[in-house]
Symmetry: C2
Subunit: 270 residues, 2 copies
């Protein structure tokens, strides 16, 4: 079915690659779920200086993050409000300070996937180069103390395979979920210097479901025993899984295809 | 793996059934993503009179809906604000007027699934009976005028099968996506009486992805041709599909398992 080819990889300036030849023929590109577009917004002027994008599930956390990072970078006056760039929609929230963009993505693979399609197009239209995207969030952990941080080595599916299955026009396509290894080492080094959190590099399991998919016993539906749950989590741990969340696989697959440095770091829930 | 059985179906008063024997042993049930719980809230007092739950993706639309329905039912003073019952979290928004609850669910199967697990438990704890849940939303259409309404006969997957595949503890489980037929007829009759919309009963395709999963040509990644896209949509139409969205399959599967009358009605996007 792949009768249109995708020339991925990076050039010297590491611009964002769109694996979609149809876009060249479009006069205008509307980023529906951001309420932004090439016909209505000067994207290079608004976003051309972006070098780091941090994405996470909750809009209020991403707002809190931009306030924190503004303080750390000494940009903007303390207490100043950072406007929501996507105020025209309630699908996602987006904040910017200097070279850092902070975007919410909701919960689950389909929700983050819509956001990433439009984010990657936004960064391309804005002519951004050398962009790093980091997913920050909370997750459940396996065999680690609450409050630990997991930097994802590989994102694996519910059978512990490092792959993302995408259904395209009714057919299953398997994509790689490798993440940037150098970036993992850099983040680990940062964590050592800060010395505030127990930080490990491990595999992250990405599921399509929060309750039954992650072996919880307290959903509205649960047809397995506690022993079956524990056996599954033991197998996950033995395969190298250290935490479980719901977005990392498609995040890794889409970063790979678009030539973006991508990384996932999650804080285990208390 | 199903070593714990689920006794589904309804008793005379049609209470909500929880297919989870573990819940009986829990002293407190925290509905994390609603910021509600049995230990902190008097759920029967707050929600015991609920008979209809309308769910949809966008929080602002679900707020607009409760204002509309309050006017239609003559409940509450015009212009009065309806507080967000889930103000303690930004995951979902919830509004109530009389017997009607209006809840947002975000985008995609994983996001609505978390909401439905907690909604079904909430209705159970509140001792609600004879509850009808209707998903209202927008979707893409096939072979219909924009602005039409599709009442879902069956929710089908990306290969046009009326089923929902759920991965539980790493194993695939197939669940039925049948929806209440009588309710479809009643909604169709209402539509005829209102006579404002072109309304059809048809199959709804539920995908895990908005761009590549639904054959769009304007995502950041698109490796198929326009002809391949059109061929796929033709096959979908011929199988009875009239619209495409991202939540109906798990909605139908979970309503079935919990003994709730469920229905999906979607307005085709303009």
């Amino acid at each position: 079915m792949a009768s249109v080819s995708c020339i991925s990889g990076r050039d010297e300036l590491n611009f964002i690659h769109l694996c979609n030849p149809h876009l060249e023929k479009m006069q205008e590109d509307i980023l529906y779920h951001f309420a932004l577009g090439t016909g209505t917004h000067d994207l290079p002027a608004l976003f051309g200086d972006v070098k780091f994008v941090c994405v996470g599930g909750s809009p209020s956390r991403m707002k809190a993050f931009i306030t924190y990072i503004a303080g750390e970078l000494g940009l903007g006056s303390p207490g100043s409000e950072h406007p929501n760039i996507c105020a025209g929609t309630d699908r996602y929230a987006m904040y910017k300070v200097g070279p850092v963009l902070s975007v919410s993505h909701g919960m689950g693979i389909p929700s983050i996937s819509i956001m990433l399609h439009e984010l990657i197009k936004l960064l391309h239209h804005a002519k951004c180069s050398n962009v790093t995207i980091i997913r920050i969030g909370t997750s459940g952990g396996i065999g680690l103390e609450p409050g630990s941080v997991v930097i994802t080595r590989k994102s694996v599916d519910a059978t512990f395979k490092p792959q993302f299955e995408q259904v395209i026009l009714g057919k299953s396509v398997i994509r790689s979920t490798d993440l940037d290894e150098q970036l993992a080492k850099e983040l680990m080094q940062c964590s050592k210097e800060i010395n505030e959190f127990n930080t490990v590099i491990g595999n992250t399991m990405c599921t399509l479901d929060f309750y039954e998919g992650q072996g919880r016993l307290d959903g509205a539906i649960c047809l397995y025993t506690k022993e079956e749950k524990l056996q599954y989590l033991r197998e996950a741990f033995e395969s190298g899984v250290r935490n479980i969340e719901m977005e990392s696989s498609v995040f890794a697959a889409m970063c790979n295809l678009s030539g973006v440095k991508g990384k996932v770091a999650t804080l285990l829930k208390l």
